[in-house]
């Protein structure tokens, strides 16, 4: 309503709302370059312990990025993602042990099953607002842990052991050289990153962020709050379960506490919180810092007093939430225009 000088050179960009894709393309290139770089690391590192730490780091990167889809982009903070991780792990092992079916299929089965569980839980839990939702996720994951602890057919508290077989990509079993696991989980990390990247530019991604920022305003623009949460939840659960399946194959032995336990939920959540919730790079930055740090403290100090690594995690989170509540990624962003500002 202000007087604006007539602008005869109305460019095409003003006639539609498609955002410039150049910054998105740059992000994609950075991710591909980072992946390529990471793929070269094993050429210089042959130490078994270092390899284990790298694999776990990438796994938690993928997990936290999956969590980020629901927690970061859609704003539904789950502290019970261990339920999906555990479902993925158990589904993969059970399908292989009891049905002789390839773990590749097992991981997808676990993913789909976890998505269904996520939808069923979401149907009830997404009626709860904010903190109540978060509390419900903790309680439900703990209930799942108790169920599996008492499930004789699935090994109960003893868990399940994968038989040792020859190294093979078909069964994803590699006894000695863990390098293939590294490449598998690197690919999974990239995939989850690509999902988040795709979401940032997609209609659903805009909806989810709108639901996170102001659900009522989103509804007034025709966004279904419930459907948005359900969709984000299903996608998040799927990839969490796939990573759970990977974990089972990697360690070849699972028990309820190690895959359904609350510490898994924490480790899934923390990298994103540390790095930056709802950002493309937050989970990666967080996982690369947090997981090696946790592993190192656990192996060097943890021997006598186990749980030292948890103190380190806790201290980090306190520091971050006091100094940089938006996560470490926001340190890099201050010099650049904020997201969406690149016209």
């Amino acid at each position: 309503m202000r007087d604006v000088p007539p602008n005869p050179s109305t460019s095409l960009a003003d006639r539609n709302l498609a955002a410039s894709s150049s910054s998105r393309r740059r992000q994609l290139l950075v991710a591909l370059a980072a992946t390529a770089l990471a793929a070269c690391v094993p050429l210089g590192v042959s130490d078994v312990y270092a390899m284990n730490v790298m694999i776990l780091t990438l796994m938690y990167l993928a997990l936290s990025q999956s969590w980020n889809v629901l927690g970061g982009y859609c704003g539904q903070i789950s502290l019970g993602h261990a339920i999906y991780f555990g479902i993925g792990a158990y589904a993969t092992v059970i399908v292989y042990l009891k049905g002789g079916i390839s773990p590749w299929i097992g991981m997808v089965v676990g993913g789909v099953f976890a998505s269904w569980i996520a939808l069923a839980l979401g149907y009830f839990c997404f009626r709860l607002a904010g903190h109540y939702y978060t509390i419900a996720t903790i309680v439900i994951a703990e209930a799942a842990l108790l169920l599996v602890l008492n499930w004789e057919w699935a090994g109960a508290a003893l868990g399940l052991q994968l038989p040792f077989g020859p190294d093979s990509w078909a069964t994803l079993q590699f006894g000695r050289n863990k390098l293939p696991y590294f490449y598998f989980v690197l690919a999974l990390s990239l995939l989850t990153w690509l999902i988040a990247w795709w979401i940032e530019g997609a209609r659903w991604g805009y909806w989810w962020r709108a639901v996170k920022d102001d659900a009522e305003a989103a509804a007034s623009l025709g966004v279904s709050i419930f459907d948005s949460k359900m969709a984000a939840s299903a996608i998040s659960a799927f990839f969490t379960a796939v990573a759970g399946g990977f974990y089972a194959l990697f360690v070849s032995y699972i028990d309820p506490q190690s895959v359904f336990g609350f510490q898994i939920s924490l480790l899934i959540t923390l990298p994103a919180v540390l790095g930056g919730i709802g950002t493309l790079w937050g989970p990666a930055v967080g996982a690369v810092l947090l997981i090696p740090l946790g592993e190192l403290t656990r192996s060097y100090i943890g021997g006598s007093g186990s749980g030292t690594h948890l103190i380190v995690y806790g201290a980090l989170i306190v520091v971050i939430s006091l100094l940089r509540p938006e996560g470490l990624v926001s340190l890099f962003r201050s010099s650049k225009p904020a997201r969406g500002a690149q016209a």
């Binding site: 309503m1 202000r2 539609n16 009522e216 305003a217 509804a219 007034s220 904020a338 016209a343």
Partner: protein, 234 residues
């Protein structure tokens, strides 16, 4: 077009509006006046599906819409610009507008209202890349209305559009509302500024503690002795 009959909405146990009936014809501007707490906002929120009615019915284009979820009401062609605008402050102007347009699947459908929005509010075009939170109050109101228009509504409901904007922009805001009506959009307007809103409205209702105490054409309401003494200072 919109028919509200015997609508009662309670808010946390208190009756916010009681037995409100209202008709809005196609292409009209109807204004709802009343003091703070008279239930004006509750009326709009109930129509938009964000508050649940206690009793009564709401029909839009002959179909009953009370009890329908808010996002589906938007999809049927009722856009609601809530009080305080409710923009997404950390998103750019462009992305705020996009969020309105995402109701449609196809790109041409999404971009179709854009020329109209820009000719109404040229400043939005200049500010496309700016974060919505950094706009002035007047610009934010324009963006909120522009965003609502991106959903291509048949009925536009505005809650206090003149609130929090510079006095000299208020006249222009009312001119814009009039211009929106000229494009065929029906308007239900909640306003405290009775004088200005009666100038552009076809008819008006006055709410007092949740009940309609006066209704009529804009002219009739303006000439009513109670209104003249209470609002117009004459």
């Amino acid at each position: 077009m919109l028919e509200v009959a015997g609508l009662t909405t309670t808010y946390e146990g208190l009756v916010a509006i009681s037995d409100v009936s209202l008709k809005v014809g196609k292409g009209e501007i109807v204004t709802v006046a009343g003091a703070n707490g008279a239930g004006k906002s509750t009326l709009l929120k109930t129509i938009a599906g964000m508050e649940q009615r206690q009793s009564g019915s709401i029909h839009f284009e002959g179909e009953r819409i009370d009890g329908v979820q808010p996002h589906l009401i938007t999809a049927r062609g009722i856009a609601f610009v809530p009080e305080n605008r409710r923009l997404f402050p950390r998103l750019s102007v462009r992305d705020n507008l996009r969020l309105g347009s995402f109701l449609f699947r196809k790109r041409p459908d999404r971009d179709a209202p854009l020329d109209g929005v820009f000719s109404l509010f040229p400043v939005l075009k200049e500010r496309l890349g700016q974060l919505a939170g950094t706009l002035s109050g007047g610009e934010q109101q324009m963006l909120a209305m522009g965003r609502a228009l991106m959903t291509r509504p048949k009925l536009l409901m505005l809650d206090e559009p003149s609130q929090g904007i510079m006095p000299k922009l208020v006249t222009e805001m009312f001119a814009a509302i009039k211009a929106i009506r000229q494009t065929g959009v029906t308007i239900l307007l909640v306003e405290q500024r009775l004088v200005e809103s009666l100038e552009i409205a076809d008819s008006a209702v006055v709410l007092q503690t949740g009940r309609i105490v006066l209704r009529g054409s804009a002219q009739e309401v303006r000439d009513h002795p109670d209104i003249r003494s209470a609002y117009l200072g004459a």
